[in-house]
Symmetry: C2
């Protein structure tokens, strides 16, 4: 049986970056760049006014200046400003050649024969003009490889004219749900049956992690059925998640079925609660996680092992657990790492009731897993513990 | 001109919760419950074993017990345990009537004539049996109204047999992008033109906020064209976002076009940088935001005004800004609230270079807006300032 940190180390060491794809900029948010982006254009690409006003020469600012012309935003006319004249310019529009300042319209008095600047001594060379390349020069690296594309960066990418970017693709994930006792919600429960919930929680969590291709299979607790589902689920998948049937019992066929299907076993069993029977293996580059069937075990193992692997495959960094003060003392039994449903706020964390691995009611208020070290059994109030925020 | 807090107050006061819809549980993550959810079933619904082992009576635990039968998970047989016998049970499966404990198989020696428990004195009544309703009783409120459905709660909802839940629907958002200088990325730029980026950034940010229905219109800088786009964009939309054309200039038709289309003006102009010309109005329950055209102004106003309104419409709470220490002194000009692109880490925040409202390069490293109060001009190093994380 592995410790939590050894198990995590094995998962990390067996997880590879996925290949790179060209993604349209419009839908690139949430992806990580697999190559740096260089700008094809300068921003701005021409001397650009940042105000509605008048372009002129500083040396002319004391005079009455006839208005030679106007250059609205979007005008592609390349005008030449004449000496002792002014040209009307607009925010975002071009500044004519020969002008070395833009005076905002609020500083100007307009007369029939031209404009007069109210306080010519305040006029400065270069004011209200964005010079070509002031933000970006054509050819500049605009975003380095490895950057997670935030929605605001999508704006930036479009602004430099990018239409697609190279990103690490998202994994395709297959689920195989095992358990004869499971019934689809919407159907009545017979004695001995429970509602199948793991596929719902996992699919929602995967979607939140950016995995939009989730395939699903069900298998009865029989070796042949489980093998068949695994064989089908492995096709085209980067990650296979199995729930249930992973203990060493008479009706637990998941590990054997995986081995029969060519999955290499990397560990089976972790010194943790919930999730002790966790199984991990790979087939080529495909990762296989056998998650214990209890819903809280599934979600805890998902967050501790599966989510970091998904992040690693797509080039994302997993946030380090935060340290928080326990609001009250807590005593745990056994020499296992324990993950407890907790509520974190302002640096403090509370252990919630209903911690058994089949219980989900605590998720109504929980917002983190509290990790309690395997080697410690008594945790005093105010002791610092790592918390993994959902 | 409004202060930032007055402007936010007006937006808040004019924003209403959207109506409620029935959403399938599988896709309910990210929605807020508009009604409490009650369980139709008890969890578990029957006495359930939490171990692979043997169900028996504590009083019989010293004897050699013939194995009467077995009850795998999913079995709906309601067996009666005979005195001085044991029944094989499995994790998640039912415990027969008459048994008051389950002894895990690792504690048991199996012989041809029955099982013998290795240390009978360790056997406890109730051990390894989850009693009916131990997590939830049928009829219990499982999740209160107003709860944001986290993916893990999706598991919980499925587990209590829910197939749909009542949630506040998501808004439909329309964009109207104005500006003669704008060119779609992928096309060459002529002199005086810039790439249109606001629709890209806004759509990506809206999608991250759960808004999947975003419609788009373009309008030239002309009153009739702008009015036409606004009229079309308002149809079926809950929120209308306009970019550009919102200042008081000769080619700025957005405000007039909105008024002509029956939009009630609630404010125009906020004492802030970037985003001073921000316009806000409503038509019935439809909210209208006129965002200044500079990309950084658009994104800053989006986060400060639009995102909180989207949250409010869907019943979500906007996280309060975090307080952070400035890593270095900063002096600002004017009596405006300033939002600066910042990088926040471990309670400290750095002001990034490239703060002009047309500059987006800082978004490569920025992860927050730093808010500098309008009434203060000098900020010392280590001073606490509010930061709005992206």
């Amino acid at each position: 049986m592995k410790t939590v940190s050894a198990a995590k180390h094995i998962v990390q060491g067996n997880t590879c970056l996925l290949n790179s794809i060209e993604q349209p900029v419009a839908t690139a948010a949430g992806y990580v760049l697999s190559a740096a982006v260089y700008s094809k254009v300068s921003v701005p690409g021409f001397p650009q006014s940042s105000m509605d006003g008048y372009a002129l020469r500083v040396q002319d600012s004391g005079a009455l200046l006839p208005v030679q012309d106007e250059l609205p935003a979007g005008s592609s006319r390349q005008l030449q400003l004449k000496a002792e004249q002014a040209i009307r310019v607009f925010t975002g529009g071009p500044v004519p050649e020969g002008a070395d300042t833009v005076v905002q319209k609020e500083w100007v008095t307009l007369t029939a024969s031209g404009i007069r600047i109210q306080e010519p001594e305040r006029v400065e060379a270069g004011a209200n003009i964005r010079m070509p390349g002031a933000d970006i020069q054509a050819g500049d690296q605009v975003i380095p490889e490895g950057t997670l594309v935030h929605p605001y960066l999508v704006s930036y990418l479009a602004g430099v004219g990018a239409t697609t970017v190279a990103v690490y693709r998202r994994p395709v994930v297959s689920l195989v749900i095992t358990g004869n006792e499971l019934v689809q919600p919407g159907n009545p429960l017979e004695y001995g049956q429970v509602y199948e919930s793991n596929s719902f929680g996992l699919t929602a969590a995967l979607q939140q992690a950016g995995v939009d291709q989730v395939q699903q299979w069900r298998a009865k607790d029989e070796l042949a059925a489980t093998e068949q589902a695994i064989a089908a689920a492995l096709k085209g998948a980067d990650v296979l998640l199995l729930t249930g049937g992973v203990s060493v019992g008479e009706y637990d066929y998941v590990v054997q079925a995986c081995l029969n299907q060519g999955v290499e076993l990397l560990f089976h069993g972790v010194k943790q609660r919930p999730g002790k029977p966790l199984f991990f293996g790979r087939k080529g580059q495909q990762l296989v996680f056998g998650l214990p069937g209890n819903p809280a075990s599934v979600l805890s193992c998902y967050q501790q092992y599966v989510l970091p692997a998904l992040h690693q495959m797509t080039g994302r960094k997993m946030p380090a657990p935060q340290m928080a003060k326990l609001l009250h003392a807590y005593e745990k039994k056994g020499v296992l790492t324990v993950f407890l449903k907790g509520y974190y706020e302002n640096g403090m964390v509370t252990v919630l009731p209903a911690q058994a691995s089949f219980q989900l009611s605590a998720f109504t208020t929980a917002n983190c897993w509290i990790e309690l070290d395997e080697t410690i059994s008594f945790f005093a109030a105010s002791q610092q513990v790592p918390v993994h925020l959902f």
